[in-house]
């Protein structure tokens, strides 16, 4: 299997666009800040200022512009990232018929913060609740807004798999192309807004980090470091246009990179504990589908949340899959935080940027690596051509995913 990647977009704490994200990752600039009351102790926040239009902007219907003006920053970031990828893939020229373009949004329970606000605000005077609320409170509202903004008329769906939602959505997009349901598919990672009780509950499980480094937020996120104390949430949206090779070639569209295979495995476990077996199974399946032996993988973008047990488990799974092969390993979450539902798409964008740029980005705050057998990138980026890479994504519910990416053949590179 081989699917082309022809467009990318991102909105992160580093700014609006793929370029500021790549710059942050390459130069190793932490985007973490201290949280306000009821927020996580440390987080990476989308920029306060509302974004202008992405370069080469799409003409968005007035109805969508109005809706967005009344929407929160999450929806605005989602649409922004989608438009950037859309223009990057040159889909705005109408080269692919709207009916042959799909839309997959990664994430679920996206509206619960807003829904809770409205439930509390209108509890004693429910007659005045907006008639739009019923629509706003359903995740599918994002499908409607993005598809109207970009004129997408093929298959559309949300894919939910907790922190593995991004990878699961990319996998679904690949299947839609592989079974010819669509020729191109916009996969969008949706920003996640946790409620105050979810934040506290995560803190109570011990998964949420930052408490020990709140006064020095940029030092707080430490994937694969002995001093790590949990994951740091990062607000972000990310976008990727997947396209069939014949469609991209037929319209003379150079590709950034390719998806070569994927693996997804449940751990058959209801708790929050990660599973070495299921993580290794996801990676092994992705490699087998891609026709790659472990020795041909140059780089792994780890799930690497910086949670105590999570990193330890992933390190063991990586040792088990790669043995003596020792690919480079880093975690994008160390710089821009854990984007939860959007993480898989965001990290896929990071992987492709590194494939195209011939480098691996540094790991954040990796002073004392938990495992000397793993080839963890240090404090500086390393210039290094990458031909094949894996990107891991694991989610509550015992969900384990991994996607294999390949550098575009030289003649087809952008």
């Amino acid at each position: 299997m081989k699917i082309a990647i022809t467009g990318m977009g991102a909105a992160t704490a580093a700014g609006y666009g793929v370029a500021p994200l790549v710059d942050t990752l390459r130069s190793g600039r932490s985007q973490m800040v201290a949280g306000a009351p009821l927020e996580p102790p440390v987080l990476a926040r989308l920029p306060d200022s509302k974004p202008g239009s992405p370069p080469g902007a799409v003409e968005v219907p007035a109805g969508v512009t109005r809706l967005l003006a009344r929407s929160g920053p999450e929806l605005q970031a989602l649409v922004w990232a989608g438009m950037e990828a859309w223009v990057d893939a040159s889909l705005h020229g109408g080269a692919v018929p709207p009916r042959r373009i799909g839309l997959v949004i990664a994430g679920h329970n996206l509206t619960q913060s807003r829904a809770l606000e409205v439930e509390l605000t209108y509890a004693g005077r429910r007659r005045y609740v907006s008639p739009r609320f019923v629509q706003e409170s359903l995740d599918s509202t994002a499908l409607g807004i993005v598809s109207e903004a970009l004129g997408i008329r093929g298959e559309g769906v949300l894919v939910g798999a907790a922190s593995a939602s991004g990878n699961a959505a990319l996998i679904h997009g690949c299947r839609m192309i592989a079974d010819s349901s669509v020729d191109a598919c916009l996969v969008l990672g949706a920003p996640t807004r946790l409620t105050a009780m979810q934040v506290q509950s995560l803190a109570n499980t011990g998964a949420l980090g930052g408490a020990t480094q709140a006064s020095n937020p940029r030092r707080a996120c430490r994937p694969f470091d002995e001093g790590r104390d949990g994951f740091i949430p990062g607000q972000a949206a990310a976008a990727m246009v997947l396209e069939s090779i014949p469609s991209a070639a037929g319209r003379g569209r150079p590709m950034h990179a390719t998806v070569l295979g994927y693996g997804s495995a449940l751990a058959a476990r209801s708790g929050l504990e990660p599973s070495v077996e299921a993580e290794a199974e996801a990676m092994t399946t992705a490699l087998a589908r891609a026709g790659l032996s472990p020795g041909r993988v140059d780089y792994v973008n780890a799930h690497g949340t910086a949670s105590r047990l999570g990193d330890e488990t992933e390190a063991e799974a990586l040792r088990r899959v790669f043995g003596a092969a020792r690919p480079w390993i880093n975690s994008t979450k160390g710089w821009v935080g854990h984007a939860i539902h959007a993480a898989g798409v965001l990290e896929a964008v990071a992987v492709v940027a590194q494939l195209c740029g011939g480098f691996v980005h540094p790991n954040a705050n990796l002073d004392r690596p938990i495992d000397s057998a793993l080839h963890l990138v240090g404090p500086e980026a390393i210039d290094q051509p990458i031909t094949h890479a894996l990107s891991n994504g694991f989610g509550f519910g015992g969900i384990n995913t991994s996607i294999a990416f390949g550098r575009a053949p030289r003649a087809e590179q952008r």
Partner: protein
């Protein structure tokens, strides 16, 4: 034609505010009494949104069924005025 007393004037100003919250591109001059809401670009959900917003701002409750035949800004103002006088 202007509203005939201060209550109607207040209702009209609240209503215009709701109308412009839902469709911010409309100018004040476009929101004259006899304009048809559909012609101004309000679909059925927009109208329901305007009505709920205005009810909240005025602190009145009007059964949805009463709004079924209402087409113009004048008719809306009159309906809210009747409810407010109760």
């Amino acid at each position: 034609m202007q509203p005939n007393n201060s209550l109607d004037g207040h209702i009209l100003s609240v209503l215009r505010q709701s109308l412009r919250t839902v469709l911010p591109d409309l100018s004040e001059e476009q929101l004259v009494l006899d304009r048809d809401l559909a012609e101004l670009g309000f679909n059925s959900l927009d109208r329901a949104d305007v009505i709920t917003m205005t009810m909240e701002a005025l602190g009145v409750e009007v059964p949805v069924v009463q709004f079924l035949g209402v087409k113009t800004i004048r008719e809306l103002t009159q309906l809210f005025a009747r409810q407010s006088r109760r």
